[in-house]
Structures are given as structure tokens and as C-alpha cells.
Symmetry: C2
Subunit: 210 residues, 2 copies
């Protein structure tokens, strides 16, 4: 059986768990508390030298880190990944956009709001993080005003990748109501057969306000 | 013919040009000066709403941004991308590592050293950028001490992706001599048939010291 090392508060981990549920794939979950430093322990670094969850362990013991690489691995040969060369590259385009132009702003501000509040180190970066996050949402809005899903009429791993932190962007202080296309797209996910909610979305009572 | 929009000082763009040369694929190069703001102009944003180079325009007019998505598109069906499912996912694993855990440290410090020097905005982040860059080099070193290329005995797009900014990391102040495996790996690239050097490497005289 597949084994997934994950922290339930991680949107990067939720991407993988959501796809596994949508695919109906059974897996064993190993909870790793990243905030308490479990990903920096020697035993975990032996599995992923980059010290990050999620991490997928295959039946043969092979180890695959990086949420979007895991999504691609799991989705190959299923309806969740395009079966043409350009379509696959476009799914990857959105996933690289997610890791470079979206997550470092939207996920990081959510993390700061929930776990550190404003500190002398992060306060000078706060405005730039907000600006970058809104820029990413605007890029998504442009596409999602014109089509139901990022790559057209059917959902793909590009949507799963971007949904994870977008639908909890309000937890980092982002106002999603400005983005009608993005909001309508978020509303389509719970209708997907097999959908599971993000544990990190449900723990609203833990949220700290800055 | 393929058309590539690129800034010759961008390592992200160099990745694509290097692979095109290694494949022997002819392409038309359209130079876009990102530093002078050409990627924020309306005409360019109409092609890539995220306002970044490199951007590949296919023969049929389709537009593909994101350097690593372009590498994947160009490499499918060639010896530069693994032909097994796990191998493809492992190539992507290194490319997502590159965009999240490597480029934001190593490429950003290189950019600051060359184009902005220390400013009140970036100075508080300088030490964290150095730490993150060295952490990324250490992850690479662990693998490159044990094998010639990131995925084993043959070079792949994972190597091309990481080579671009690693081999010019010294331009951002990083001391590569600590990493014998990484240095040996860098030394293998010029031997590859079709190799072309990075224009941004050659312009050493432009380097500014901080």
C-alpha cells in the first residue's frame, strides 16, 4: 500500500490526499508534525534530505517528495492528467506557477498569520507578500472567468494543485470576494465525487489574528 | 519554427536554450529585456499574463511559459526525459525543488549582487537567502557525490534545470568549492555534444560586487 508522510495543516500535503481520495486509492497516512520540527529529525532527513512533507513511499520502498511531482506520478494514465503532450506541459505550467508565484505568497502569509503573527523579521516583507498573492489570484482569475477549470472543461491536477492554498487564502488575510471566477471555481470542488475537505480549513478555531 | 522569448541574462531562459541546442532544434530567439520592464508591457502580458520569460511559442501559436514546463514539453520522447513513470516523476521532483528550494535563494542573490546591491529592503533577507542557497547545494551534493547525474548514469532535464543557476552561484557570492560532487557535475556539462555557454556567465565584467 502507498504510504504518505504528511502534516494535516499543510496545503501541499492536502493536494496529495485530495487526489488520492478522488482516485479512490487506499493509502496509509503517517502524520509528521512539521511545525514541531519532525521534518528536521535525522530519521526523516534520511527519507527526504530536503526535510519537507509531503513524501510518498511507494510499495517497493521508493521515496518521492515534492507535492506536484507526486500529483503527476499519481495522475499519469488517469483522467486527472491530460493525455496529450501540450496538455501535460500546460498542467505542469500551472503547477510551477503554483510553487513559484502563488505558494510563496499565499501559503506563507497563511502560515505567518496562524503560527508566528508579525515579527521583526517578517513584518518588512508583509506588503510584498500581499502584493504577490493578489497578483497570482489575478492571473488565475483571468483564466477562470473564461473556463470552469484551469485547462478547460475538465478538472485536472493543475486545479488540485492550486485549489489547496487558494481556498484557504482568507486565512492569510486575502479577500477572495474580488475574484468571482476564482470563487465559482472553488465552489465546484466539493461537488467532485470523492472530495474530502482540508483539515487545515476546518481548524478555524485555531486561527490567530494579526 | 519554435519561437523563444527570453532575456539573455536569465538562467531560467538559459535552461531552455541549452536544451534546444543539446537537441539540435532550430528556434527563433526574441530578446526581451526583463530588467528594463519589457515583460510588464501590455503586449507581453497578452502573451503571458504572469509577466515572465522564458516563454515558448509553438508553430501553431500556442504559448507555453514556465521554464521547467517548457523543458518537459521539449524533452518528452527524447533521451533527456526518463521513459518510465517513476523516472519522470523524479525528474519533476528535482525541477520543483529547483523552483522552490534553490532558485529563490541562489538566483535571487545573484540578481541582487548584479543589479541592486544591498538595499534597505533586501539587506535583512540576505543571510536567510545565503542559508537557503547553501541548504539547496547540500541536498544536491548528497546525490552528486554518489552519481554522475541527478538521476543516475545519464543526464536529464533535471540536470539542465539545476545547472543553470548552480554553475553561476558564485556570481551571487556562493562558495562552490565546498561541494566537490557539485563541482565535478558542473565540469561534465561542457563535454555534452551541442553544449552552449550561458551568456550571463560570460558577462563577468558586468558583475558588481557587494
Amino acid at each position: 500500500m502507498l504510504k504518505l508522510y504528511d502534516d494535516p495543516d499543510s496545503g501541499n500535503g492536502y493536494k496529495v490526499q485530495l487526489l488520492l481520495h478522488l482516485l479512490g486509492t487506499l493509502y496509509e497516512l503517517v502524520e509528521v508534525n512539521a511545525i514541531q520540527g519532525a521534518t528536521r529529525k535525522k530519521s526523516f532527513l534520511a527519507k527526504n534530505p530536503n526535510g519537507k512533507i509531503p513524501l510518498l513511499e511507494l510499495e517497493d520502498g521508493s521515496l518521492l517528495p515534492e507535492s506536484n511531482a507526486i500529483l503527476f506520478y499519481l495522475a499519469e494514465g488517469t483522467p486527472w492528467l491530460q493525455d496529450d503532450r501540450l496538455g501535460r506541459a500546460q498542467a505542469l505550467q500551472w503547477m510551477f506557477f503554483e510553487q513559484y508565484s502563488h505558494e510563496p505568497y499565499i501559503a506563507v502569509l497563511r502560515y505567518w498569520v496562524r503560527h508566528t503573527s508579525k515579527t521583526p523579521e517578517n513584518e518588512p516583507q508583509w506588503a510584498a507578500k500581499e502584493k504577490g498573492g493578489y497578483a497570482a489570484l489575478s492571473v488565475m482569475e483571468r483564466t477562470l472567468r473564461a473556463s470552469d477549470w484551469l485547462l478547460g472543461e475538465k478538472p485536472s491536477i493543475a486545479d488540485i494543485s492550486l485549489y489547496a492554498y487558494t481556498h484557504v487564502a482568507d486565512q492569510g488575510g486575502f479577500d477572495l470576494t474580488r475574484y468571482a471566477g476564482v470563487c465559482a471555481w472553488i465552489g465546484r470542488f466539493p461537488e467532485l465525487p470523492g472530495y474530502v475537505p482540508f483539515p487545515g480549513r476546518l481548524k478555524e478555531s485555531d486561527d490567530r489574528k494579526v
